[in-house]
Amino acid sequence: MTISVKMMRRPEPEKNSYLRATLSGMALTFRHLVNPAKVTLQYPEEEADLHARWRGTHRMEVHADGRPKCVACGLCPTVCPANCIRLVGGEDDQGNRYPVVYEIDEFRCIFCGMCQEVCPVEAIHVGRHFENAEYTRDRFVYDLDRLMEQDHPTTLLWDPSDPRSE
């Protein structure tokens, strides 16, 4: 999906009169009237076609037994430029590190996706999802359970050999 730039041909001096310009303008609008370009998305009924690298609502991957994949290494709160991730790590009996508290403030988040890039165990992801409206502000701080509940598709990381993710 590339942006194409359309060069407008300007009328040459003394080649275009008001009358002719009016008629050509009427012809132009008539063409659009009878054959409008279908660009409007009827949003609630029609799904937006999100790009494979669209970065939206976060999601925490889980193991088969339901534990979060996060190992509380602390890289994501460190790299986060908006400082929106709060992580308190813990250690269980076997010496495995796990997150005791893992919260993401979706209001502070700038959706740069660096948490996903930096994660060594592919636990935290940004996702192809944007419908996260809430009635109160405190609902926008997603805790660990809520992040694990998310089931939308995750964002594809950038691949240099496929720069457009096609």
Partner: protein
């Protein structure tokens, strides 16, 4: 079958009341759905979809809009002149609705009690009545604008009156050409003469048609002549201070004026309810409903029928709808004129053209009548050719020298001029 008589007595009274109610309801319904049509057509022109949420295809949108406007708070500016402020919308809306009364909208309908003319009031002063009443509408805009005690509203009202004065002249002159040909100001007679000429007046009077079209846009304050409203200059013009239903009455008046002027253009220039062929020709001639004259001068009686009435009504509706769509189409294509351009077009172009054209048509009809040419196809054909030449000359005159300079074009031209003069183009040009 007995000779057909016009409906009279108590049946005539009932028929009149029924026609008044039906025409009023029809005009109001058209006005309501014009708001929807305007929004949908503008949306399509701009590659959008437009209101399609209220009811199927958004068809209930006008009802929702009306309900909203009825329930909205009515504000009254503190320093306004309250009586005139309240009178403004009424005076604007009333003439817009009553003008439709003299426009015939279908062939006469035969009933058990007599033949019903499909026109609310076939008054003998038809066109004069319309010109007189539509001019009253501008009082509503001026009063509303003045009473608002707001400089923008006042300017909008002043512009409305200035524009009305300027274009009423051109409008009247283009109508004069029609009256010369029709020989009468009654609209039923205008339709009848077009049927007899075998030409709709848009052809033998093509230049008058163009003048009338341009003037009608100015008279109804539609783009490109919407100086009184001019949202980019005057906030909202004369109705800046209005809200709720009082505001809604101004657009309603504008749309009603559009409907009336479209119907009038269809009647004057596209034969009204006439369809090609002589099967639908009907006219009251000395108490007889006739469809034409035989070669020896005797009358041929007409045969009105329900299907003829319905078919001619559909023809009339289609012609009117055509002009209404063109109104919308023009609005969403052309930008607004500058105020001085509006005045210049009205006084320096349309008025002299209209005057000259009236002279031309008057002279042509005089010559043709003196030659004894009968009112019919040849007569119309000669006038069509003559008017075609006049129209072509007018368009060439309009086209001449009125060039558009886009920013890029102006820059290029400056460079060209410099090169010709031997001066090298400077950096930064």
């Amino acid at each position: 079958m007995d000779a057909l008589q016009p409906v009279s007595g108590i049946a005539g009274f009932i028929a009149s009341v029924a026609k008044v109610v039906l025409v009023f309801a029809g005009v109001m319904l058209t006005v309501a759905y014009m708001t929807l049509a305007e929004r949908r057509v503008s949306a399509w022109i701009q590659d959008r979809i437009g209101p399609n949420r209220v009811g199927p295809f958004g068809l209930l949108q006008p009802i929702a809009d009306g309900l909203k406007n009825l329930l909205k708070e009515e504000t009254l500016p503190a320093k306004s002149s309250k009586l005139f402020f309240l009178m403004g919308p009424m005076i604007a809306l009333m003439p817009a609705l009553v003008t439709f009364a003299v426009i015939p909208f279908a062939a006469p309908l035969p009933t058990h009690w007599g033949v019903v003319d499909m026109v609310v009031a076939d008054v003998p002063i038809g066109i004069l009545y319309i010109l007189a009443i539509t001019s009253l509408g501008v009082y509503g805009l001026v009063l509303g604008g003045w009473a608002s005690n707001n400089k923008y509203a006042l300017l909008g009202g002043m512009r409305a009156s200035a524009q009305m004065v300027s274009y009423e002249v051109a409008l009247g002159l283009s109508v004069v050409a029609v009256l010369i040909l029709a020989g009468n100001v009654t609209l039923t007679q205008v339709v009848w003469q077009q049927q007899q000429l075998h030409f709709w007046f848009a052809f033998p009077l093509s230049l008058a048609f163009i003048l009338f079209l341009a003037s009608a846009y100015a008279e109804t304050n539609r783009l490109p002549f919407d100086m009184p409203e001019a949202e980019s200059e005057l906030v909202a013009g004369y109705h800046t201070e209005y809200s709720g239903m009082k505001y809604a009455m101004f657009p309603m008046a504008e749309y009603a004026n559009m409907v009336t002027s479209s119907a009038l253009m269809a009647t004057l220039f596209l034969g009204g309810w006439d369809l090609p062929g002589s099967w639908d020709n009907m006219f009251w001639y000395h108490g007889q409903l006739i469809s034409g004259f035989a070669a020896n001068g005797s009358v041929i009686l007409a045969h009105p029928a329900l299907w003829k009435t319905l078919l001619t009504f559909v023809a009339f509706a289609i012609k009117t709808a055509f002009f209404l769509v063109v109104y919308i189409w023009v609005r969403w294509t052309l930008p607004r004129f500058r105020y001085d351009q509006v005045m210049a077009l009205g006084w320096k172009v349309l008025l002299p053209t209209g005057l000259g054209y009236v002279m031309l048509i008057a002279g042509a009809t005089l010559v043709l009548d003196q030659l004894g040419l009968p009112w019919g196809f040849t007569y119309g054909l000669i006038l069509t050719v003559l008017s075609g030449l006049a129209t072509a000359g007018f368009l060439v005159f309009l086209d001449r020298g009125h060039t558009i300079f886009g920013a890029a074009a102006a820059r290029d031209q400056k460079t060209i001029v410099r090169h010709r003069a031997g001066v090298p183009a400077q950096a930064g040009d």
